[in-house]
Symmetry: C2
Subunit: 305 residues, 2 copies
């Protein structure tokens, strides 16, 4: 494949950046990849694993002269990094980020970016419950969605180029308006994570059921929640703090619905429960049909012993 | 393997009974297997798939002369079946059920069972999001837990024999007190299902995010909920109606916790969120260590296209 960006800088070297580095090398669409991470330990690990070509001592050094700079730090840290790298950005460079919320990131970053730089926020919807540079792998983005959220007036060529880049890394791209992005992600990702965290917390805190029992019998449904709830705490703290409006709105709807079902249990309204549970099956069918999951009958099964 | 029960009757021929029939044949630990299901369509399907040896016209006919009778109907239907088969049960026979709640099932069935019959309730913690006889497969119980909930005073030999039977079907057995069973299952299974149903219902009902978007981007966390929420509506309606006390207690705890987290989002209390999310990681680690799930970094990934 032809080179899309001659020099790429990754700021933050966790799961996403690590996977990007490996996916870029797999694709062969970039020249030198520089990288920077806040902690020395992460920088050393990234160097050892060869996630990038050159580890720098600070974000500005990594970003200087880069054609593409991607901020891969928690959402709450994006603004400070943008402030640091703003002065050294090459004219015509593209700056992007991989944050899970977009309005807050745009608000935090945009003021620090100079004229003549293209700012194209993205959100690769890929991840695992693991975090850190060692969790990265080249296939992370294969067949996953990368949401591209350009502001009005952004140079179309710069947006197209970044989409070509993500395609080369294995992802499918979809453009989305920023407000809608934050709402969609609250529904399909942020609130499910919040609920999973809560359920796992309740189980752990429920002294009349031992932790051993919770673990032993987790395959009955609970296990899927623990996988979601093992995700990176810093990342998710920042997601919730920075997508407050959408999160609170959907949480409100969620508790309304939950209370209606709870009331049906209390009053013995079997019809309400049955109708509700029947209805939710349809969405599952849609997901199977869309190829977003398999229909294999192995739900809830642990590895063979 | 030696024969454990010469004649086994399965009342209800859905996912669980179908899998039991196939697992019994695989194990070779039973003689003739009779079966009955309420609808003609299910009986025909079970006959066609060879899930049992002989399909009967009613529950009493299937149960008559059996050494083991297992009720595999929704929890709300257990009492009526017990009443029907009570008069024809063979002295010394074992009667069991596979319901996901136990106190309500015991209350419904026990009055109808004659003296000289051993009543040993069980709960094989296995299932998929599919239901009906066609969903059954012989490996369903392999390495899964079967909770055995005998009442005090039950003949120990009858309990041991039923455990041998479940071991032969591939399951691991654990004895549990009835009240504790209903509480543990509410934590690890019933409430997670309730929450998953609710979340899927909210997503579907949230008109500002299209169903297409929900389906398309489901892999970001939501997908695991839809799998849980696709489970059999009749079964789950009955579970919630019949495990009211434990369900409402834990739902109460869940909403308390959720409100605390919601408040932390509203007030911007990042420390609360961070500490909570850090804490829930430990449970996940325990599940990995206990061999109840794999640590493979493929969370949220759809099938390759």
């Amino acid at each position: 494949m032809a080179v899309i960006y001659d020099r790429v800088a990754l700021i933050g070297l966790g799961l996403i950046a690590g996977s990007m580095g490996l996916a870029m090398k797999r694709a062969g669409v970039t020249g030198e990849i520089t990288g920077y991470a806040r902690t020395e330990k992460t920088r050393e690990t990234a160097a050892r694993l060869g996630l990038v070509d050159r580890i720098c001592d600070n974000a500005a050094e990594a970003a200087e002269g880069a054609d593409l700079v991607v901020l891969c730090v928690p959402v709450g840290a994006m603004g400070a990094v943008a402030e640091e790298i703003g002065p050294v950005l090459k004219p015509g460079a593209t700056v992007s980020d991989v944050g899970s919320v977009k309005q807050a990131v745009i608000d935090a970053m945009a003021p620090h970016l100079p004229e003549g730089v293209h700012f194209v926020p993205t959100h690769p919807m890929a991840g695992t419950e693991h975090s850190g540079p060692e969790a990265g792998f080249a296939e992370l983005f294969d067949n996953r969605w990368c949401l591209v959220v350009p502001e009005e007036g952004t140079d179309p060529a710069a947006v197209d180029r970044l989409e070509d880049f993500w395609h080369a890394l294995g992802a499918n791209c979809e453009r989305m308006d920023v407000e809608h992005h934050d709402l969609v992600c609250a529904v399909v990702s942020h609130i499910p994570h919040m609920i999973a965290y809560t359920m796992v917390g309740v189980a752990d805190d429920f002294r009349r059921v031992s932790e051993q029992e919770v673990i032993k019998f987790s395959a009955a449904g609970f296990r899927d929640f623990t996988r979601i709830a093992a995700s990176d705490p810093t990342m998710w703290r920042d997601v919730f703090l920075n997508n407050k409006t959408a999160t609170l709105e959907i949480l409100g709807r969620f508790t309304e619905e939950l209370f209606a079902l709870q009331r049906a249990i209390r009053t013995g309204d079997g019809d309400h429960l049955f109708d509700y549970f029947t209805h939710t099956r349809d969405i599952r069918r849609g997901i199977i049909e869309a190829g977003q999951d398999t229909d294999a009958p192995d739900f809830g099964r642990g590895p063979k012993r």
